[in-house]
């Protein structure tokens, strides 16, 4: 394939454009003074890092709240997705297209519309300002992605293995634990991480349903940005970003497939099932 003359320059520009904003945050996190118009901070210190890692601050409880909510949302939405994905991936039934359409609707319609509308019911049933209310709200964006990723994986599941296990005397639970789940494991891992991430990054649903009492990290980051202490806001931004970055580190291969670095022209057989839905989820997150 031909190589354009300006390609190395363009590639450099691309890398700079993608990475500069993140590097800038990392620098600000350890900055003591950085007055205009200096291009590099005048003095560094670890004040902001100590603030965000101080066990007495609100950050640590926020981290625990965020992780707890996101883990619960991931497990519940993937359990729901395992069931619904099976129906969509393995069965044909009247109204299948309608179910798929209904699952796509929460992907399109903004979260603010839904959370404004449903808040009154949540207040009535004492779900606002509670962690489980926020978990319920986060299920709205998480469930469609879990279902779509797992439905794609089910279409490649050979159900003959399940039948074999049944014939050999395994009960439904044993079949699920020892045959179905291991076969779906790659997709399930991706679905769990993706739904964790959707919940972890969610802001407006938490704000409207949590009402400020449920302080997840994005809410704390938002108020830190408003407080004007740039170094602390930047340090907190790093804390919020690290788990998602680990996520991509783990799943990068699954996202683009092992063949992404090659150019042998063949269709990629190792392409992860449901990679499209996974990527779509990242676009939202």
């Amino acid at each position: 394939m031909r190589r354009a003359v300006g390609a190395p320059l363009l590639v450099t520009g691309l890398v700079v454009a993608v990475l500069t904003p993140l590097v800038l945050l990392a620098v600000w996190a350890v900055t003591e003074t950085w007055r205009y118009p200096a291009l590099w901070p005048q003095a560094f210190d670890d004040r902001a890092l100590r603030v965000v890692t101080d066990p007495g601050s609100t950050i640590l409880p926020g981290l625990v709240t965020s992780a707890g909510i996101a883990a619960t949302v991931a497990v519940v939405s993937c359990a729901i997705g395992l069931a619904a994905g099976r129906a969509l991936g393995l069965h044909t039934f009247p109204g299948r297209g309608l179910v798929r359409f209904a699952l796509l609707a929460p992907v399109i319609v903004p979260g603010i519309t839904v959370s404004l509308g449903i808040q009154v019911v949540f207040i009535r049933y004492h779900l606002t300002d509670t962690v489980h209310g926020v978990v319920l709200a986060h299920l709205i964006p998480a469930t469609p992605y879990a279902t779509l990723v797992l439905a794609a994986a089910y279409t490649r599941l050979d159900t003959a293995f399940e039948d074999q296990a049944r014939v050999l005397g395994a009960g439904p639970l044993r079949v699920l634990l020892h045959v179905t789940l291991p076969a779906l494991r790659p997709a399930l891992t991706v679905a769990l991480m993706l739904t964790f991430l959707i919940s972890w990054n969610e802001y407006v649903l938490t704000l409207l349903i949590g009402g400020g009492s449920v302080s997840t990290l994005p809410l704390l980051l938002f108020s830190a940005i408003g407080s004007g202490d740039t170094s602390v806001a930047a340090a907190l931004a790093m804390v919020v970003s690290i788990p998602p970055l680990l996520f991509v580190g783990v799943t990068a291969r699954a996202l683009t497939g092992p063949g992404a670095g090659r150019n042998d022209g063949r269709a990629d057989p190792g392409m992860h099932p449901g990679a499209g839905a996974t990527l779509a989820g990242l676009g939202r997150a």
Partner: protein, 288 residues
């Protein structure tokens, strides 16, 4: 399909439908009802379209609609075009393709709120870009630098969306390109196709479904996003989502139904926009 299998499918789907209908559908429906005056658990409400007529007469809302549409369409088109260009650049670079793909993925999972903070540090009047223009002598003070954050146009918002969504579209396009565009291009070249023809009739039809699906997600997200304009924008004119939140939390409770009406407007507008966009893509994906 027999009854037993039908029952099985119904049981499998029930929890997901409970979320989609019971939470999402209920939220959407209750939003619509509350925009029309309905007040659950309260006596003495009546049906009214006052919230909608109030919005139509409201200049702030008209400005908001224009801003929302403009930002969202520019971000979607920009991310789609730039993302495809980046994907083709990365795909054609022989060395370092793996590394470049990894670099593209770094920003993908980072929350938009983090991107928004970073953009304010980059683009504000005392931000990094302003310091760079000072260093090369283009500006002499922060106020010399154009206002890109909290501005009327929403430049910083647009920049944040492009920074987050261009790599997203690029990664999606790369997975589509990896499925064997090179041999097809070689065949087309052998048959005498010009570079433009190879792009229009080989590359574009191959990547349009993937890039299209990705940019629908971008369109929907940017249209309804709240936290990015809340950090980088200004209270007036603000995107619809921000105005909806303002009206919802307004101390004047009589404007509250307008918040629900704005939510409905957001939902209807984004659905219409996605429908139009999908039709447009159908045409682009055509091989002739």
């Amino acid at each position: 399909m027999n009854r037993r299998a039908g029952l099985r499918v119904a049981v499998l789907l029930a929890p997901a439908l409970l979320v989609v209908v019971g939470l999402f559908g209920a939220g959407l429906g209750l939003g619509l009802l509350q925009s029309l005056g309905y007040q659950p658990y309260l006596e003495g409400w009546s049906w009214t379209t006052a919230a909608y007529t109030g919005l139509i007469d409201d200049r702030a809302v008209r400005a908001s609609l224009v801003l929302t549409l403009r930002t969202s369409v520019l971000a979607t088109a920009g991310a789609a075009i730039l993302g495809l260009a980046v994907a083709m650049l990365v795909h054609s670079s022989r060395r370092g393709r793996r590394l470049l793909t990894a670099v593209l993925q770094v920003g993908l999972p980072v929350p938009h709120l983090v991107g928004a903070l970073s953009m304010s540090l980059m683009l504000s009047q005392s931000g990094l870009l302003s310091r760079l223009t000072y260093a090369i002598g283009l500006t002499t003070s922060p106020s010399d630098f154009p206002a890109l954050t909290e501005d009327r146009f929403g430049w910083a918002m647009l920049a944040e969306y492009l920074w987050k969504e261009t790599p997203f579209v690029a990664v999606v396009a790369l997975t589509a390109l990896a499925r064997g565009v090179a041999p097809l291009q070689d065949v087309a070249a052998t048959l005498g196709a010009s570079p433009w023809q190879r792009f229009r009739y080989v590359v574009l039809p191959l990547v349009t479904p993937a890039v299209g699906a990705a940019s629908v997600v971008v369109l929907a997200f940017t249209f309804g996003s709240y936290e990015v304009p809340a950090v980088l924008g200004r209270p007036y004119p603000a995107p619809l989502s921000v105005v909806a939140y303002q009206r919802f939390t307004d101390t004047d409770l009589t404007v509250r139904p307008q918040a629900f009406a704005l939510g409905v407007v957001l939902a209807v507008a984004v659905t219409a926009l996605v429908a139009v966009y999908l039709r447009l893509l159908d045409r682009l994906g055509a091989t002739r």
